[in-house]
Symmetry: C2
């Protein structure tokens, strides 16, 4: 088997055999296949795509390239949730406790912020004392006892994906549906879950700008799950404005805490209930999806989800009091109000711009090595469809350093579009796949 | 400027600015841009193509990456001919002397055999004593005195192309019209020519299998010439059977010698006259193309082209007597006749198969390091359209080692297709571009 022939066949739109995909992934991981051949293969995949069979084998090879977590000794169905990344997306802190409160085992392995969207681990670490670097034993023990644990993905999980991703990042081959799908699924399936709920974001603040692309991504991931005997469901949800009002690490923890106390924004609450319900349903803790929705709502209203979250925070070394007393969380020192230049209806809020502006003032990182400022971020005062007057506050920037506040303020102001007519209401949950 | 952004823009079908192409070629040549980024860029070019402006700048950058030959002190228009490579293509040894006999200055820089087509330098070196490794001074002197010199391309000519070609070869990015065009043209234009006649082969024995692709390649190369103020004309010619009857190094020299004595095959003679005429016309040695054709024919019929070739062979250390006395050329020791299994008309002769079979018995090389056997090859006895009986000789294999003769014989036999009806005659010269 010659690598150049496999590149050529993929370039010419042919389907590669499972053992050919294996040859490529193994050869690349162990260094037999050089970067320059893999990068031209990846670009050929970008243009020619991959069949379901190919993408499943690619996922399997990457999954098998490293450790896999064995959770079979913990009774019950293990269910995780994964979002493709949105601005203000703090659903993990709401849905995981709700599902766990309903008896689902939720091994939640997450990543860090990179690009314009935040990272689950970074947000959690804004809670004083919270540890995400648990040992495998600690993780296992907590999952058995509390049914929920938040942890980072180790380097030993799908190292082939790690190596491929680093190459894709510098060769303009990130934006490929089979490559994105296999990257996500190889890591998620290596975590030892039985089922997975996916939140595929679409819109200005998401990686996928069009619903047709988001659908293809969702279908591909659901297909990979099916071929590997895992139950996978995907929601395609709108990311044409930030989710909820808060963007930034500690700010999002505050909003998640409020939402778990049934005092959160409507959109965030609605999406969280739906995601939690699907985790509960796939986790076999309800006979129907409607029952699962009722169960999720009950755990929200009765506060059992919130209590579960506090237990988990405490177990992972965090100060759970900070979830009630926000002054115990990192707080910004400066605030800037962005006001509306004129009256009208808010017709859209560019979520990517809000995310980028929030990163500018320190909430995110451009490079892996950058440190983040947990206190800073943006809180929207209005959302799409609301009426504002000239001079009304659109949002507030919270910062600790003046450095790039002016630049961020300009960007945020431009993110809001106003129209004289009330815009049509947009659906939050657009589609279900799987 | 970031390389990854340029890859992405090319991937997305955008046109890159001249300075961006320059950044890529220079960065790659001096090692700032790694192979893995360039190979993904090349694959993006394979799919997205290049505009005329891009391909011209790419050619110019590769040309300027190394030495360029200055022939301005030699009076007259300098004209070269280049063929994209065919089986049995020995026109260089005929057209160059004919054009030189008519007063055109012909600095002919050529390559070696690689793949299923032969190399001009290898063929010339089958003449005992013939040297192609002349110094720049020797080259210059001979060109001034005789108006014709055959020489190999040095490593200093277009080194960027050399580095890029080596990468394309292992990343399945050879078959791209802008990349092929710029590779050919950068080397040819570095030779200091004023005009260039291209012979773009199309058919089973050529790189381009379809006329529409050959036309695009021809148009691209003619366009590059135009933008760089060089006169370029291209003929698109049929390569659905070998040109002439002889395939193999010394065998092709013999046939070229016969053709220069006006005793060669009809197809080879016809194409040689047309190519020589265009060189004479672009070289301003005739007022019209028709005058140029008459001049080329005159030099063929009167033998002045043949005398010019002998002068050049002598000047480059070769034994010119060998062009009359073929026993002085390397001769094979074994011969195998391939006979027709049944009667009928020869409907096609797969030129690629003939080329590959000829290489099998030693006429070509698979790898750069391989040595070739100048004596061996194949001589066709019939060509497309001719009638054969069962048992008639289709061709003869000439070899010096038995090793792969059986395998080659099978391949050659399969190369001939027979049909009960006389096939329609195929045009040799299909199109003129430029």
């Amino acid at each position: 088997m010659r690598t150049v022939d496999l590149i050529q066949r993929k370039r010419d739109g042919e389907e590669l055999a499972p053992e050919e995909i294996e040859f490529l992934v193994e050869g690349y991981t162990n260094g037999d296949i050089p970067d320059y051949q893999m990068s031209s293969f990846l670009m050929a995949v970008y243009f020619s795509g991959m069949s379901d069979r190919e993408v499943s084998r690619l996922t399997e090879c990457m999954l098998r390239s490293g450790d896999t977590v064995d959770l079979s000794d913990i009774p019950g169905v293990k269910v995780d949730k994964h979002s493709t990344g949105g601005v203000g997306d703090k659903t993990s802190f709401i849905v995981a406790p709700l599902a766990a409160a309903a008896g689902v085992v939720v091994p939640m392995m997450s990543g860090r912020a990179l690009g314009h969207t935040g990272g689950t681990l970074d947000k959690l670490e804004s809670i004083p004392g919270f540890r995400t670097d648990l040992s495998a034993e600690e993780f296992h023990k907590q999952l058995s006892e509390l049914g929920l644990c938040f942890i980072g993905q180790t380097e030993h999980l799908a190292p082939a994906d790690r190596k491929l991703y680093a190459l894709r990042d510098v060769t303009a081959t990130v934006e490929s549906i089979p490559l994105i799908s296999s990257s996500i699924m190889s890591k998620k399936l290596a975590e030892g879950v039985d089922a997975l709920v996916l939140d595929v974001k679409v819109g200005s603040g998401a990686f996928m700008k069009k619903q047709v692309e988001a659908r293809r991504l969702a279908q591909t991931m659901v297909g990979i799950g099916r071929r590997m005997d895992k139950k996978v469901q995907a929601l395609i949800t709108d990311m044409n404005q930030p989710l909820g009002y808060a963007v930034g690490n500690a700010l999002e923890i505050m909003e998640a805490s409020q939402t778990l106390q049934n005092a959160g924004p409507t959109d965030l609450t609605k999406l969280s209930i739906e995601l939690a319900a699907r985790m509960i349903y796939l986790g076999k803790k309800a006979a129907s999806l409607d029952d699962a929705r009722r169960l999720a709502e009950k755990h929200l209203v009765e506060g059992s989800g919130y209590r579960k979250f506090k237990q988990v925070v405490t177990a992972q070394g965090g100060n759970a009091q900070a979830l009630d007393k926000f002054e115990l969380l990192p707080n910004a020192t400066g605030m800037r109000e962005i006001t509306s230049p004129r009256g009208g209806y808010v017709s859209s809020i560019d979520a990517e711009d809000i995310g980028v502006a929030s990163n500018m003032i320190g909430a995110g990182r451009d490079k892996k090595e950058d440190s983040i400022d947990p206190a800073v971020g943006i809180i929207l005062e209005v959302k799409t469809g609301e009426k504002v007057d000239a001079g009304s506050v659109l949002c507030r920037l919270y910062y600790t350093k003046e450095d790039r506040v002016d630049e961020a303020a300009d960007m945020v102001e431009d993110a809001f579009s106003l129209s004289p007519q009330k815009p049509e209401e947009r659906e939050l949950i657009l589609e279900v796949v799987g």
